[in-house]
Symmetry: C2
Subunit: 156 residues, 2 copies
DNA sequence: CCACCACGTATCATTGATAGTTACATGATG
DNA sequence: CATCATGTAACTATCAATGATACGTGGTGG
């Protein structure tokens, strides 16, 4: 099944933004994500509404982080994206009155609910600063890796 | 995202089959699942190949359970369906060389891998007999519930 | 032995979500 | 005030599950 990559993409972008001086335009971001500017604006809109980023129009405008990475968890971004369904498999409701179907869905539903709770707890425990620190470790480990699009090592 | 309901459906069907005398035709099963016979054959094909059910052609033919419910776990059925992706959200690979993307995907990937392991372990620990027992409990609790399609209380 | 029944399977249409695109309006900057 | 950037509406593209049609194949029973 087709997988939703918005969470991954937004985390990617936010970390880049934190290492970036000044606003990043949707155009620049879209190149990083190999997509196009409208998709970026659409997806970032949710984060803006929750106050994680700010957008500025006109010359020199673009997107700016509005909170430090230490204050943003993966769970926050997941919620900002509208809490999309995490699971690709789910219960059937072909015959809601059927007791067999109810028994099956109760078992599956409980298993998925527990897995979701675990996943969300994990998301809530990881901040973007943690991911940025992992990036820094990878960067140091490789010395001077190639830059497919602009990375911003810890300098600025 | 659209959710794969095949696992739920197959569990539903197998339990009904265990309470059924003689083969159940794809036509009968399709009515239980509010779908059509071809979808049933397509989905059951995987279970047949793994030996959980048998199919018989001709007059009086249809589908028959080939193992007791105690010998079949939810995990078995999941595998028989081709182990479809469990998650609806996943990593982006827009820029595989980007160290930021790698850090993001490592964190997300680990979280999802752990959740998947938990889910599969749970699936492996539940047999269809457990679900059937839950059905029996629900049946007894309600006395004589309505039958939207044929249920088979513990008699035969 | 042959008519019928049920599975087996190829092929195409439908669905529902993200993702991509085009077009145009709005606001800010220099 | 021309230009740049976001905001958004309205499409189209894509992908996998699902649904539907058609036809082939093998058993069964009359």
């Amino acid at each position: 099944m087709r997988r939703d990559s918005r969470l991954s993409r937004m985390l990617h972008v936010l970390i880049h933004m934190s290492r970036h001086n000044g606003p990043a335009t949707s155009e620049q971001i879209s190149r990083m994500l190999a997509t196009n500017p409208v998709v970026v604006r659409r997806t970032m809109a949710g984060l803006r509404d929750k106050g994680y980023v700010r957008s500025e129009k006109g010359h020199g405008g673009g997107w700016v982080l509005d909170l430090p990475l230490t204050e943003i968890t993966l769970l926050d971004i997941h919620k900002a994206l509208g809490e999309p369904t995490l699971f690709a498999v789910g219960p059937a409701s072909d015959n809601p009155d059927c007791l067999v179907e109810q028994a099956v869905n109760a078992a599956l539903g409980q298993a998925f609910a527990d897995a979701e709770a675990q996943l969300l707890a994990r998301f809530g425990a990881v901040t973007l600063a943690d991911l940025a620190a992992d990036f820094d470790a990878r960067y140091r480990a490789l010395g001077s890796p190639p830059w497919p699009h602009e990375h911003y090592p810890a300098e600025d």
